[in-house]
Amino acid sequence: MVKWTDFERATIQDIFSKIDYEVVGPAAFSRCLIVYPWTQRYFGGFGNLYNAAAITSNPKVAAHGKVVIAGLEKAVKNMDDIKSTYKDLSVLHSEKLQVDPDNFNLLADCLTIVVAGQMGAAFTPEVHAAFQKFLAVVVASLRKQYY
């Protein structure tokens, strides 16, 4: 079981209460598709992903960005048992979507960069560390059901 300090717990709740989901989800997801273009392999049905401008203005990308961040919120609400909260999501990504789990780290990095941009100086090294730990637990939980 993951142990969270009071600071980490409070920081994660604080970050997610402050960020605008409608902005952060789509921004992080589109950044991932732009910066790591091989991740586009999972989104063949999304239409025009030809260049950064197309990706940023693609409505399916924006919609999916919101789905991703809604999924993260589940972890925020269940910080003491992210592993079981994400059991079905892990099976989904492994069996149905067949996503290479190394991609989770790519999206996590983009999310960190977008949240850092939003929070500015408030994203101190200590806050950054808490966020990094949270994302590491999320990624590990999503990897758990792969075999």
Partner: protein
């Protein structure tokens, strides 16, 4: 994943905006790395103070950014341009190259914080590629 002409242009243009804040950015990135990825502290056990903003961290952050600035100037041939630095890292410092990626990520996070309007997704991909190319050049002499 080598740098296209457009990548190089993008990196140079973005670097002009980094220059006035380079030391601050270097210090912040290094501080952050030591806090968020504590295993990196093992390379600095000889420093008295590893806390964010301490004197050794400030000084070394500036040194690192000086190295990156040098790389920008030598962007057309990083392998030969960074030969001495590669030898330093390979034979003297012996930093595991996996850490180059970690530091690069922290530099990108600080760019996002300090230059939010300039660090667009297009700039991000070019700079990420550039830092990866720098890491490759630094790894050149390892084995």
């Amino acid at each position: 994943m080598s740098l296209t002409a457009k990548d190089k242009e993008t990196v140079k243009a973005f670097w002009a905006k980094v220059v006035p804040k380079a030391e601050d950015i270097g210090q912040d990135a290094l501080s952050r790395m030591l806090v968020v990825y504590p295993q990196t502290k093992t390379y600095f056990a000889h420093w008295k103070d590893l806390s964010p903003g301490s004197a050794p961290v400030k000084k070394h952050g500036a040194t690192v950014m000086g190295g990156v600035a040098d790389a920008v100037a030598k962007i057309d041939d990083l392998t030969s341009g960074l030969l001495n630095l590669s030898e330093l890292h390979a034979f003297t410092l012996r930093v595991d190259p996996a850490n180059f990626k970690i530091l690069a990520h922290n530099i990108l996070v600080v760019f996002a914080i300090r230059l939010p309007n300039d660090f667009t997704p297009e700039v991000h991909v070019a700079v990420d590629k550039f830092l990866a190319a720098v890491a490759r050049a630094l790894s050149e002499k390892y084995r």
